[in-house]
Symmetry: C2
Subunit: 272 residues, 2 copies
């Protein structure tokens, strides 16, 4: 069984994709062909969109699903006359929000992401710059400015987590790679001690680490399962001895890792 799902927006379609994907994940038995159509911001594009919906309908023999965040009522009406089953975020929620807030909504094209993004973009770009400069312990002096400092052995996922924290949440995340020397000492490296309150450990099961390291440097001591086991054992012991919060990332996506760090690290995202 195959159905086409369209994510349609007058802007980036990030919201339409996010909410649509979340809903689609509730239907495992169905295979979805996913099509994102951003910047549908005029009548001509809305009509072209209906044509694509009609084609998908003819091809699948079943009504496509549409997840839409169109704010313009006229464009929404055009879409509603298509063959698709339309799930429109604004259509569904705005009336109730207007009632709850006692205010009329803006309903302006593109408003769904447009406002406040300049300032928001700025904070996150700064956080991103910070993450890039601090990557792999190069900017140790900058630890003073970090919102959080991720600690873990090589390939434990520190860099993607730092970049996601920066780009998505505007959090300034530094990282410190634990070396074999650090692990031999069994205490926090001296440069980290004064930042203890902002340290957060990353760990994973040794098999997964072995697999990741094999991709980078196959058949080396560095990548061997034994080495991975030793390093993870020592790192976990270090986290416990130092009383750090730490997270097993073995089965997590980068979103999940970042959201867990934010939550368990007690961070407040100040940069929306």
């Amino acid at each position: 069984m195959k159905r086409t799902a369209f994510f349609i927006s007058d802007h980036t379609a990030i919201t339409a994709e996010t909410f649509g994907r979340s809903l689609l994940s509730q239907f495992e038995a169905v295979t979805f062909e996913r099509v994102t159509l951003p910047f549908v911001d005029c009548e001509a594009k809305a009509i072209e969109t209906c044509r694509r919906i009609a084609n998908a309908f003819a091809h699948d023999g079943q009504a496509p699903l549409v997840f839409s965040t169109l704010t313009d009522e006229h464009l929404r009406h055009i879409l509603e006359r298509s063959e698709a089953v339309v799930f429109d975020l604004f259509e569904v929620f705005l009336d109730r929000m207007e009632a709850a807030l006692g205010q009329a909504s803006a309903q302006a094209v593109g408003r769904s992401h447009g406002l406040g993004d300049a300032a928001l973009g700025r904070g996150r770009i700064e956080a991103l710059k910070f993450a890039l400069e601090c990557d792999d312990g190069i900017g140790v002096d900058a630890y003073d400015q970090a919102d959080i400092i991720l600690v873990g052995v090589s390939r434990s996922g520190k860099t993607p987590a730092c970049l996601f924290l920066a780009l998505h949440y505007g959090i300034k995340a530094a990282n410190y790679p634990l070396t074999e020397e650090d692990l031999d000492l069994s205490t926090l490296p001296s440069g980290l001690r004064k930042h203890r309150a902002r340290l957060f450990g990353l760990t994973m099961n040794p098999e997964r680490l072995h697999q990741l390291r094999e991709e980078r440097r196959p058949a080396t001591r560095y990548a061997s399962l034994e080495q991975c086991r030793n390093e993870i054992r020592a790192a976990d012991a270090l986290f416990r001895a130092a009383g750090l919060s730490y997270l097993d990332t073995s089965t997590m996506s980068v979103e999940e890792i970042a959201a867990n760090i934010l939550h368990r690290g007690g961070l407040r995202r100040t940069r929306w």
Copy 2:
């Protein structure tokens, strides 16, 4: 007028934040205090959440708004008995989706992001690794593997765009910084010519570039408005002469830049 908005999820709360923020942006006249509560995945946490809602109600004197993606019906019912006005994504859409698809939904806790994320994570981490290795033209040989190559003068926003394309869309984006020597020649640098079909230019107004460069190296020739004007003029001329698609990013957030590149660059995101 101030209201509290909660974003509540049994998982990362990324979906709840995204759809809630999109809806809140339609109400400019209201100031929202935003609180994200991820990992609300058991009765005790749902009850604690209701307590926080009650506190916000007492403090604001107005009903808080809740944007929720709770999948567990029991937890949803607990939340519905709170003082908040609850906007629940699954509550609202799942019945209609079940009808459209003729299938029951999973309704499993955490299912909203859980499935498929391992593979998905992998593709995006690979794309991220690619972006980091290629940053600032270091990996010119890797241009063969790139899905797209962003071209622009220094500080035109290539790096954040590449990282966002990788982390969010799994697109392998390389970047090439145009030097003064490149600009003097008025033709595409020789190393880029064979990749012409995958080149995409970034430009911005000279005043904005001047401002960004002043932050990096204040009061230098590099940052001067005159230099920015000359470089942007030469870069735009180069993009036009070479027939490249290019984008003015002056007023765009990184999401908007990435979504525009994806759309106008004709890229198909293969890694969901």
